[in-house]
Symmetry: none
Subunit: 130 residues, 2 copies
């Protein structure tokens, strides 16, 4: 697996790793029980300390998205529908929070924000289905 990490973005490395792997698991690119890249694989690819990667995986395990097996490796967890739904919602909520913050700074109100969200989603769906 290839990760795209920006060392100068201000976003912590371990978070960038988490976000990308979480997305792969939730979206189904990585399947249940599939082995994930080892800590040292990623740490040498990204040129970062192994513990930084281990930290990312530790959080993902807490989220229930994978299992860590010392001496063996890392494996995508089986996601029940509800787990998947919960995590997907959480992921989207996180990202929406940042945008909502911007919206507030710019003086938008709740109705405007929700309206835009609805419209944008509609447009995208339409585009994907044609």
């Amino acid at each position: 697996m290839l990760l795209h990490i920006n060392h100068h973005s201000g976003i912590p490395i371990y978070r960038q790793v988490m976000d990308q792997i979480r997305y792969q698991i939730l979206s189904g690119v990585i399947e249940e029980s599939e082995q994930l890249p080892s800590v040292r694989d990623l740490s040498s690819q990204i040129k970062v300390n192994p513990m930084t990667i281990s930290k990312a995986y530790a959080f993902l395990e807490m989220e229930g998205l994978l299992d860590r097996r010392r001496g063996v490796g890392l494996f995508a967890a089986g996601l029940t529908k509800s787990t998947k739904k919960t995590n997907s919602s959480a992921l989207v909520t996180d990202k929406l929070e940042k945008v909502a913050n911007d919206a507030i700074s710019l003086g938008l109100n709740r109705e405007q924000f929700t309206q835009i969200a609805n419209d944008v989603f509609n447009d995208l769906e339409a585009k994907n289905n044609k």
Copy 2:
């Protein structure tokens, strides 16, 4: 003007100040050219260093929301409302598009997405105003 600051919320003081004053200006509670509370007024009210308040005002000036006049005071800027609102919506639309794309990949539907957007905005607003 009375500000409600929580010293233990984890949200930086200068940001709390920014958010509350920004809201007053954008919502029209404070009118164009109206003088804002002095740096020392707020710093003694909040029991914080004057530079912390000055920092908040400096950012708000960068946002174009007020003018700082050394030796005189701080004054709400005139807002070209229609232009501002248009730009804000465009910016927010852009960012929402990315999130909506992820949401679609993760299997969320429009109702769920819009619902989350609405809730997130609500929560943020509540947090900022308490």
